[in-house]
Symmetry: C2
Subunit: 295 residues, 2 copies
């Protein structure tokens, strides 16, 4: 039986794609959206069926609420939801960081945190906004749930079933484990890509440099076209894990620099071959698709 | 009138694609190849017409010689070519570094350095080897020539014409300018990508980390699947410029780290927005294709 009503708070790439995927699967009857800007485009594209006037309007008659805003907005949303949340309604989120979101949920929702199932869909594109939403965005992608003893197993299962209806592969982690894993394989690379573009852009000869930048540079920096607001929040909200990753990476880069400075050809080739072999094995094993997906 | 005979020394992705592109354009009559391994596949694929027995055999009857080996092999090749180089024969190369190759040419060729026109085709793929060669590899790509007063203008024009026949956009730089530009936009990103994969691969939980790495990680690290031998040589042969770039990048990363550590949201968002806007403007202006090309 389809979910009677889903409320999507933050109707952008992720929230819009969740709605489209559930609609395509026949897993939801009605989607109500809430955004910062008017939702004309989301209505026109059929991403939502109705635009809510405010958070109370969005939540009061919903069966499930998805928070798909930048994580920095979630504390105030949880606080606003607390008094209007129907007893049987579940909340989930799409934040890329989990310890901070769970902390905000506890602070904002109080004992009603039992109705919140934290989730992170590991999918996305460097394009943001509802116009980029697509029903296939989560197909074959990981969705990581980070529930605790605060939530009931059957509620976690209900949220997992929705993500599976989108075609996603659902797994669970502790929030700490989640934040450490994604600091390494997602948050750090985003910082590295932003840093490279900003480094080049600040040069007096930036125009010449960009003129000769080619496909390697383009792909390396693709994630530097991601939403600054979203990634600012992720960097700040997963600060400790990210700082550890930046430091670990700095150590590795210093080691590589030392090999270059010393003219250590065998050492450099060993490092490069190890990296290439590991990456190629990863690509072959996990069959990461060719689609233009980030996270 | 097509070139009667081209000799390709190093029949891999670049050398093979140069041959295929000139053949397709009707710009060459016969291609002789020389490789470290038997050239059966290159012959079978029609990339070369004949396999030379040695460097003397490859060069003696050639009109143009392309050196498309890793740059570390070029010193010995120039030395071996010196005594067998026909007077009217031009040599060019496809090395990603230029000051070192020119130095090797002067040392190896002596006064015959006048017959060497240094070139860098800014194209490639992370796949190496002749099986990856394709005639369209250089279409719309930059080829940078770095001639000096040692070479005659008409010889530089002849080499430029061959690259244009491959569909490339030919420009010229000084060797120093070339090496500085590509250290920034190509050599540095390759080092950064190798370093990230090697950093992750060295962790006790590497398997878990790779299991949750997604499209952003895949594209960021694509160039870490490039040939270790080739990139070892590039790193060592453009050492000074690369070390400067690693240090400049380290400073930028330290600045970004400080913003994260200080919880400076506006500062982080400014940096990220600046990088995103600059990258998006670059993509729009230079219309870098969607093909899977590195350099």
């Amino acid at each position: 039986m389809p979910l009677p009503r889903l409320a999507v708070v933050g109707v952008g790439l992720i929230g819009g794609s969740f709605s489209l995927a559930l609609k395509r699967a026949g897993a939801v009857a009605e989607v109500v959206g809430l955004g910062r800007a008017p939702l004309d485009e989301a209505l026109r594209l059929g991403v939502i069926d109705r635009a809510a006037a405010n958070i109370r309007d969005a939540v009061t008659a919903a069966d499930v609420v998805l928070l798909a805003t930048p994580v920095g907005q979630m504390p105030q949303l949880f606080a606003a939801i607390r008094d209007v949340l129907p007893p049987g309604c579940l909340i989930t989120d799409a934040g890329s960081t989990k310890q901070d979101v769970i902390g905000a949920a506890k602070a904002g929702l109080g004992e009603r945190v039992s109705q919140f199932v934290p989730a992170h869909p590991v999918a996305g594109r460097e394009k943001s906004g509802v116009a980029a939403a697509e029903p296939a965005l989560f197909e074959g992608r990981h969705v990581v749930l980070t529930p605790s003893a605060d939530q009931r197993a059957e509620d976690v299962d209900r949220i997992a079933a929705l993500w599976r209806a989108c075609g996603a592969r659902v797994s669970t982690m502790t929030p700490t484990q989640h934040d450490a894993v994604f600091a390494a394989v997602s948050h750090l690379p985003h910082m590295l890509a932003y840093a490279l573009v900003d480094d080049i852009a600040a040069r007096p000869n930036a125009d010449e440099l960009f003129a000769f930048a080619a496909g390697g540079f383009r792909d390396f920096t693709r994630i530097a076209s991601s939403s600054p607001e979203m990634w600012r929040d992720i960097a700040l909200n997963n600060r400790e894990a990210l700082l550890c990753e930046i430091d670990s990476y700095g150590d590795k880069l210093a080691a590589l620099r030392a090999l270059v400075a010393a003219g250590d050809g065998p050492g450099l080739e060993r490092l490069m071959a190890r990296a290439r072999d590991r990456r190629d094995a990863w690509l072959a094993r996990f069959n990461v698709g060719a689609e233009n997906t980030a996270e």
